[in-house]
Symmetry: D2
Subunit: 381 residues, 4 copies
């Protein structure tokens, strides 16, 4: 595993727990964690249970006893590591967004395709696809329960920048993070909606905005937290991304990714509206989904709150009895299950780097539209 911040903790938990609850075809062992700072890396290795540490990711790529490279570093380093690992024949799991630029993502997708011919697998970490409710939503759409999909709404609402004195972490710096709310959480909204509907965005019209343009520099610390210093720096990424999109199936979409919706902590919500039904979901209530069946008798029309904890729901039978809740990190176990299964079966795990590239192109089209007075911009799909 390359990197060991917030995502490193989540991935580690996935690698540790998945084999206990699921019958994996291949058993992962947690060999090596890589980080620039030897001390914090060693601490992470001990905390999260990795056998060894290194400070250069090339070690992971070069070692023969390593089959899988899991990349959880900031987006600017993804391309170099992933391409090297794929060329070295390592299966690669890469955190989202795939890269910080379309060019990098294209190279990565090409490398992944090349590697795939030799049986080397790769996958992007859009973990929210693995929430059972999301898989179930996808199934409802596939079964035609929503009919023709006409409108889509997705919003990913946070409020951790509402405080104008929140420090300038790497996530607020364009050179490290690529973009702000757009790439961090907007990317989830795009991937999720395309996954659930099976449709792809062909053009977008959007606006990115930085509401608080200057913040205190980060004193020390990693991840989302960290103390503030007395100096200030420019916020070079967007605080809010609003965009509309057209899908290849004719549907119209409306999206919002923001760190300024006061009181919303991790409110990743989507609603898919079709001619026969609708689905509504909120990650703050991730064990539930609402389904509206427009073919029900008039008197019984309504959104049904389905607890996605029945044994036949995706992934659920491995866990607890009906009505017992899953949490945030369960998706990381499910990701391990699906990745190991694909490696074992020799199939392409989803989302592929090509899918990750597509999301990157949508992100890029939104940025271009924003710079072009919100003119409609094709995603190049």
């Amino acid at each position: 595993m390359i990197g060991h911040g917030f995502m490193g903790a989540a991935h580690s938990q996935g690698w540790r727990v998945a084999p206990r609850f699921f019958d994996l075809p291949l058993q992962p062992s947690m060999h090596l964690v890589v980080g620039r700072n030897p001390d914090t890396t060693a601490a992470s290795a001990e905390k999260w249970g990795w056998n060894e540490t290194a400070t250069d990711w090339r070690e992971a790529v070069e070692r023969d006893d390593i089959d899988i490279v899991d990349i959880v570093t900031p987006g600017d380093t993804h391309a170099e590591i992933a391409i090297a690992a794929l060329r070295a024949g390592k299966h690669v799991m890469c955190e989202k967004p795939l890269a910080n630029t379309v060019e990098e993502a294209e190279e990565m997708a090409a490398a992944a395709e090349e590697a795939s011919k030799k049986g080397v697998r790769s996958m992007v970490g859009f973990t929210y696809r693995r929430v059972p409710a999301a898989v179930f939503a996808r199934a409802l759409v596939e079964q035609g329960r929503l009919g023709e999909i006409r409108q889509v709404r997705a919003e990913y609402l946070q409020d951790w920048l509402t405080d104008a004195e929140a420090p300038l972490t790497w996530r607020l710096q364009k050179d490290r993070a690529g973009s702000g709310s757009l790439g961090d959480i907007g990317a989830h909204a795009i991937d999720m909606v395309e996954y659930v509907t099976g449709a792809q965005l062909t053009s977008v019209s959007g606006v990115l905005e930085t509401l608080v343009k200057e913040r205190p520099l980060l004193g020390e610390g990693v991840g989302l937290s960290g103390t503030a210093s007395t100096e200030r720096g420019d916020v070079t990424v967007d605080d809010v991304a609003l965009f509309h999109g057209r899908f290849d199936n004719g549907a119209l979409g409306s999206f919002e990714a923001t760190r300024f919706r006061t009181g919303r902590k991790n409110a990743f919500r989507f609603e898919i509206s079709g001619s026969l039904g609708a689905i509504s979901f909120d990650m703050e209530r991730m064990n539930e989904i609402e389904f509206y069946d427009a073919t029900a008798p008039d008197l019984e029309l309504g959104f049904r709150r389905i607890l996605v904890t029945e044994h036949d729901h995706p992934y659920i039978s491995a866990w607890w009895p009906t009505g017992h809740m899953l949490g945030y990190e369960h998706g990381f176990s499910h990701q391990v299950v699906d990745f190991m299964t694909a490696i074992d079966e020799g199939t392409q795990p989803r989302p592929s780097f090509t899918e990750g590239l597509h999301v990157q192109r949508v992100l890029d089209a939104i940025e271009r539209s924003s710079h072009d007075n919100s003119a409609w911009t094709t995603t190049g799909k």
Copy 2:
């Protein structure tokens, strides 16, 4: 109309509005309002649009140009007025609870039965039966959508006595109100659940409790409000009524009527659980009902939030388009519709005085059980 407090306002609104939205077979006119105090009665008459006033209810009973007597006085006066009116051939609508004692209620039911033979109609004002969601719930049960009903929960939660200095109005005096939360709101819970399930309580085990035993006497004012004086008096009714009950269909019920559930203003809720489904309702969201269909596919099980505003829902087509809300007083219009229709058609309006008597017997059995260490007590049904 005899009386002109809070209920007088609600009934007046029913009489005025019903003929505008519904095609009534008979047109009501608002002749006479009766109250002890000529000044406040005159003010009410003007405010609520009654043509004339009187200070003695006997006038209403004796006048030839009056066909209907609507009784909205405190419970201790119901029997005398209703019986006189029925004997004088007036149709009688009487607010709930029917009376303060079983004896009075028996006399009233007997008088109603006698009058009925001469085509004189009578009805108890359990208005909540007229909320469209309640009528719809009854229909679901009648259609067998819940299967065999096994468990019932009903609670009517208020908090207006949480303040230990709230004044001692007539509703807290046993000689005027008969009982406290039990008769005022517990009666609604009993009537509603029996109406929706079609079953009747045969025995009960309960406890009544007065949590704040002394309060400031009322200085002046009517109804729920009024200023407090400096003297104090004993609260002679219950603040909380908790009881369990067995129904004639084998179901088990659990009930709570209370004025001490902090933060709950008018949370009249019930949930009916059967072998094939369940219904859940909350009067604070009176335009919605939740329906669980246990025969749905396992993966789609869930409570469906039905907005009871489709045109085919009961009473709705007379009002607004789908999705537009009804409020508290609409039930009083619906009550007028049903009462006038029954008079016109010569049928027994529901709930009859006999049904009101049954509720009175249940209330009485609960009081007796409470005095008897919560021993199970038959309702005499």
Copy 3:
């Protein structure tokens, strides 16, 4: 009252009920209802309690015994009637949107201003401003409880066109309705958000789309219902309006007005996010509002569901005890109260025709932006 469709019923109920629950400074009487078809107009007059009927609105304008003209006709007729009425010295209440074009709205606003100098009052019927929760939301913003407002979301979601065979009523014809979801419900979203925040939209970027382009012609009927004929016609208005906006206070807004959000009946929702707090509202639960106070202790942060039924909440003391629900039509009574009060006090009732004109300009800017590839377009404010 000119017109007698769905809005005519709602306004009639306002005129009838308001004087009963509120102490109005002036007593309205319901003189004359005007409609083109003498038979249906006579039926409406009887049903809704108007003394006389006419087929030409000029009669209302010319009669000396009429002081107030209430216009509830489709938008294409508003300008002519309102201007004539104002010039004749009648106070005018005019349904929203003020007109079908900016030009008409400008003339109306000019006429209103002229009339105002002679003490003649005019007002636009954005009734949702009169929902107690909305007035309360406005008060929270005015008191600074939300701090600096940075983001706004408003959506008005309906689904009555989800059925591709729903008939082509006047609301789907550009020459009658002016626009589709944009003017019908998007106008509400704009007015509400500007009212609550006290800010005005200065520029917009949006897209209008007609998802179902052809529908069966209307056989017969008025209002939202009506049977379908076998011929088909073009839908000439938008089914969906999506737009982003910038406010004069620097806030960013995201809007959606649609008749295609399956399962949403009248889900008029808004959320206002500021540096110190947020407000969230849904008209399908119109007696509630959610308020997030970001200044609360960290451990107690959360959206508070406030039942807007306490006696000190706006308009409430005239109605029922705490916890008893108001419905859709109560806003029309409140509108009467505010209009009559303004006439009596000689003040400008809100929203004025000038405010209505501003909404019209925003609507127009959205249409222009939509035709201009969603380019940002100033509202001319």
Copy 4:
């Protein structure tokens, strides 16, 4: 660990994960799992990561390299194992309910007290106390935010016996399970409410009922699932337990534990109502709690939905950023944290066996009351 069913899985996950996220003063290692059937025990050992297996629990008690015995067997075996382990100087964690009878529980509590003098710790596994929302609720009460507590409602609603053909597992047999809904889930309700309020039940009046008296015998399988055979047997435990209780602080409580509330899967809910505020919780939304502060200004009264995911909330800082959900099994990690901390610090972990005994006495009093026509029965507190 003695036993390896559903609870064994949950406890194993606690032992494995807790050391990764929390800085434990002592590091647990997962030595030995004990089960009667060597094959299934070996399978469990491998699945859940235990080093060794045994078929006789005495081995665990006798081995020197074992310091902690974790008992997750059915209730009829708790006493013998726990007492032996405590006497052998092992710290004991014992699943709830503590025992099947008051007598056994008394012996266990005595043994625990004896062992405690030698520094040997013991604790009952009421894991729901470790849900962050529950700890937070306790803190609100301790800080006096609810004022004087007057009413309590707790309900634990399931529906897995709604199907009359659900098989007769050990949980439906009195000799194995001790009682039905009462001991299985009612015990949680009692413990939780006493924990949160700090008050104890002194007397109860209740009724236990078996709604479906005969079920198919279990063919094979463990835990909650298992296939049905064609033979039938008597259900010897209660399906529903309804009871009222009086607390030592004067509050009145109402309780329901049932496996027949159709549509409710694991709806463990409680609401605590005091003179200054109220708390409302539902385990199906375990990351949220609702808090009503009655001291707020009248206009702002309402239940606040607090997401219990801020870093200062109990246990949360070890997990994920704000707004990321915890699931069912996190409580088992928290239990390990608290148990290990108490062992290290030499303090009494809570709930103690004495507290477990108290719950047992309440359960027993409810059973006796049920047999005594629901007469009020003291808990012997």
